[in-house]
Symmetry: C2
Subunit: 375 residues, 2 copies
């Protein structure tokens, strides 16, 4: 399923095979939370060269629901996306979105944030829902410890996640690829125990969970580097829920293959744009070399992009295009002044143009990282 093609330092260039085609690694997954990347269609995602989309089991479980999803023939058909899809397990959203949730060894009981309906999600239930969705890559159901938990809570959540990992392995649909999720907070010994426990069970890939949840970035970097050294070499490694472009460059440089994050899309909807500072090939080459040399993340960021708040008055008469280096045609067509005007006047097109810019930035970043590892 995963073929490692070559390495540069500890960075990995590979190919991940799925039922809906192969994916060049390392890669970034735009987030189609409820079956759509906010403001964009599946056709747009093809235009943006997205290789794979991520969708959220929790949201699809609420609407259209498990039975609805099955009757609709699964998510690929529903959203008319023929490429690969990864779904999370629902665990994180149950924990973060549901007002009321209660965890026991069986699973998590919660109330829907949409209509208050009471639902119980278990490892087996998550596998069943992800099977209804028909994702190519599915995630184990895990017990999610809050950021800044005690060591005891991290340990409890990690150990329960291991037991749940086994239950997922025993009940998942074998047409799908199942990933385990490493937990253990910022404690290396807990993380190591989790990684070993998961690889003993055996998964198609391994995710680094429970990071980018508010801890200092140095801990995130330390744990990620630590895990990338001990996770199985022949399986893809997935950093869940991160991050800023400079973080992704760093994680790739230490051997991570897969990413997803709301940052490009959520920032876009609030008018925060990632713009290339210079030709992307040059910028990413420089950033990647800095990461390999162990440079500070602020220097990596500095080489890559400028982040602007397009709603600022200074852009009111700015007739430069949004980003002359962008791969998104709209970013090379419309001016900063126009995009600002769309935001200030509440036009729906604002979200779309900004999202196209930020996602095209992330897509190009990954493409250039792949090229840098190959060369």
């Amino acid at each position: 399923m995963y073929t490692l093609k070559n390495k540069k330092g500890r960075a990995r260039r590979g190919v991940l095979e799925t039922a809906h085609g192969s994916i060049q690694t390392p890669f970034f997954m735009p987030i189609a939370t409820k079956g759509a990347v906010k403001s964009l269609s599946s056709g747009d995602m093809l235009d943006l060269n997205a290789q794979i989309l991520l969708s959220n089991t929790y949201h699809l479980l609420l609407r259209p629901g498990s039975e609805g999803m099955r009757k609709l023939g699964g998510l690929h058909k529903f959203m008319q996306w023929d490429g690969p899809i990864l779904t999370d397990s629902g665990g994180y959203q149950v924990f973060s979105l549901s007002k009321m949730n209660k965890t026991d060894e069986d699973g998590v009981a919660f109330a829907s944030h949409v209509d208050g309906r009471k639902i119980k999600l278990t490892p087996e239930g998550s596998m069943a829902m992800q099977s209804s969705i028909g994702a190519d890559i599915i995630m184990q159901f895990d017990d999610v410890a809050a950021g800044n938990s005690t060591r005891e809570r991290y340990q409890e959540a990690m150990e329960r996640s291991l037991r749940w990992a086994k239950r997922c392995k025993d009940s998942y649909n074998h047409n799908q690829k199942l990933f385990g999720i490493v937990q253990g907070g910022t404690h290396e010994d807990l993380r190591e125990q989790s990684a070993k426990g998961l690889s003993d069970i055996g998964f198609d890939g391994y995710a680094i969970g429970g990071l980018s949840v508010g801890e200092d970035r140095e801990h995130t970097f330390r744990i990620t580097k630590f895990l990338a050294n001990i996770l199985p070499e022949d399986k893809p490694r997935y950093f869940m829920g991160g991050g800023m472009p400079e973080e992704i460059v760093y994680y790739v440089s230490v051997g991570v293959d897969m990413f997803d994050c709301v940052l490009p899309t959520r920032n876009a909807r609030h008018g925060t744009l990632f713009l290339w500072k210079k030709d992307p090939a040059e910028a990413v080459k420089e950033a990647f070399e800095l990461a390999q040399d162990g440079a500070d993340d602020s220097r990596i960021a500095e080489a890559l992009y400028q982040k602007i708040q397009i709603t600022k008055e200074t852009f009111g008469l700015d007739q430069e295009v949004i980003d002359p280096y962008s791969d998104s045609p709209t970013s090379k067509t419309y001016t900063k002044a126009y995009l600002r005007h769309l935001f200030k006047t509440g036009e729906l097109l604002a979200q779309r143009l900004a999202t196209m810019q930020n996602l095209s930035f992330y897509m190009r970043l990954m493409k250039e990282l792949r090229a840098n590892i190959e060369n």
Copy 2:
């Protein structure tokens, strides 16, 4: 500027020349209120075969403002639309959107609905703003009587509009094409006086204003037919702010050439869709023949379309595409169930897909009407 190519009954097929290209008549103008058709880009409007866009002087006067618009090089450049643009005069929005407005012979003083700033719009000011915008076709500034006004008020507004028409004619930018607006409510004698007064001044086209503002449809039809008989044959006739597809078919059948309306776009944003009942060529042929035979408007509507509320539960599992007869690729790609899901879950893509459907319906309607007049 306007060339009448041929007629069928009283319906007219012509070509309208503008500084940004020629437009085949009869035609419909999608509304780019603040410089964007809601949820769509100028590139999308090209894909939808829009020939011309309408934008609102009042909104552009507030943001980016007259000076901003001039510094930005006009609306064509600002929104990256190389085709023709028509702007209204601002009069109607001043009247309908501004909380406080006071009309005297000089013009209308009002408070911006955005920030309360006090502004005075006069015939000369409207011409200057429309010149800053750089529209190809501009409208005279008129005094707008509320629907269901007294005859006295209709007469006053009509007569003042005539005086203002003259002031517009005396002050407009001659690189633009200026249209007069016929007023007079539902009173034929007032309408006739208005039409004659305007044609004595002489304009590049004549608009039928003050209809579709709440009066019974029979009055709208009666006045429109009456005016289409007396307005100059060698100039385009523009029905402002209407209407439903069956109304447009009727107005075309009595000799109107130009239309604009928020119905397709506003309905779309609320999940109300116009869907073809059968092949558009057949449907419009039938509808046009019914209109020429003087059939009831409900029969014309019946031949043309079905109007559905996509948010209804009945579409929850409907796996038919939105509209198999649509010219919009997304309407032939995504299912009704998916579009309903997008609306129910608050996804921004919902507005976009629905707007594409409704605008493509209107664009195709006009195309088939043109074909029917030609044949």
